[in-house]
Point group: C2
Chain length 313, copies 2
Amino acid sequence: MIPSRQIVLEAGKRVAPFVHRTPVLTSRLLNELSGAEVFFKCENLQKMGAFKMRGAINAIQQLNEAQKKAGVVTHSSGNFGQALALAAKNLGVNAYIVMPSSAPAVKIEAVKAYGGLVTITGPTLEAREKSAATIVEEKGAVFLHPSNDLNVIVGQGTAALELLQDQPGLEYIMSPVGGGGLIAGTALAAHYLGDNCSVVGGEPMEVDDAYRTFKSGKIEYNTSTDTIADGLKTNLGDINFPIIMELVSDIIRVEEGEIISAMKLIWERMKLVIEPSSAVPFAALLKEREKFKNKKVGIILSGGNVELSNLPF
Amino acid sequence: MIPSRQIVLEAGKRVAPFVHRTPVLTSRLLNELSGAEVFFKCENLQKMGAFKMRGAINAIQQLNEAQKKAGVVTHSSGNFGQALALAAKNLGVNAYIVMPSSAPAVKIEAVKAYGGLVTITGPTLEAREKSAATIVEEKGAVFLHPSNDLNVIVGQGTAALELLQDQPGLEYIMSPVGGGGLIAGTALAAHYLGDNCSVVGGEPMEVDDAYRTFKSGKIEYNTSTDTIADGLKTNLGDINFPIIMELVSDIIRVEEGEIISAMKLIWERMKLVIEPSSAVPFAALLKEREKFKNKKVGIILSGGNVELSNLPF
């Protein structure tokens, strides 16, 4: 069930030519404030503004020629749609992106700018899944799930892989938990490349399905999704769930106000544009600062795609 | 009049232990948009959020022990005040910072957070100069000018020095022009370390004193300072003026709307928080894109200290 060390390392090599090796930044002020020594892996500075390019590149490269010719399809509220569109363009493949009408305009425009073939549906997951299924049937395109696909998961883990290459002594790596792709990939990288490095997720209290899944041992769902962290509304899937159960050590939940405060600190002090979802792990660190006191902590700043006209501060 | 290659190289070594080696970032999208190949030196990610830490560190280190004991004083509307406060703290020296009542609250708070001893005066340059002179007299502190001091100038140039070490083939380096310290230091670094690398300044049309100085051959002044680029309102001084006249190849003026558009592009596409002054050289590149077509252009993103509650978009 758990992919091998070899698969994780190969993904790093496969993805590297197509992504930025993003910088790892530190802030004396945020270290003082948190009591930890924090290393921010800046995937907000990644191509298309988020780590999701990594998983898309890794997954498309492993399709056969006939599959590549038919194209790929996904449904996404934003970042994975952009990622797949750009990755597909780089690899000469058509990408069909199904997006909900509720997606931020900036994300829809970005998908189109990357050459993605956009279909807009209603805001429900059901509507998106149906629309994607139609494209699979009509075009023969390969469906790639944003977070519940092993090649995507391992690809997302290459951010943590690079972080551990740059900072081998990390005692923790923290990432946000949404659909589970990033944290599962991060946990794989930490498992094989870390030196006793624990992986801790940050999750909004308002969509704490992964926290409840972690406690109950079966996949839980959200009945409402009232969070500013719009990348974290989805739930875990059957592929990433067992990896998370085996390799993640904890999930910490945070309130909306804690997310906004952490986001503002990173904007003001680190001069980085990050989206609310990216602020969740740092909010979690601040919330349980005793746990991380004097520890070396890596944090994946997952993305920076935010509408500047609609900031929470 | 022009400092030697040796002095420029020594400043690089002197400053390095106290500053971040900031990343040089690129954006495929901004390259397409500008027609140039642009390398952004991210001094907004520098300690205290601006390149000015470099000049402050270089200057304080060259004081003698008695001078260090008495402390340093400057007047600044913002970034150099923060820089001197933090540099002085790192080197165990007192820093007296005179700030105008019109300075953004976030900058005044930051100076205090870095241990600077703040005096608030009226908004005029005259009031600030008088207040600084009083501190020199009463405390025996050494006055350090934010831009018209040779050690400060050479220190500011270490950003371009690092940029050229990372990207030796640059054909142009662009920086904003305010008091002239950054562009003079940049021009020194390009002169000694570039391979036929021209230095071009960007300046707001509303405070185009440096452009007019460049044309007339004598230091010109602004009668009004109605620009969003609040770091660029000051004029050149007798120390940086001859360096600029000899080593800078051009100064391009831009309108306020062009500054705001360039700033928004960098926020949205590069996910970097930059202050308006930092956007001026990229605005200048976009304005005269024919000049820079297919050229390798370095741009100093000078700082990121901006009030998030008061954005122009």
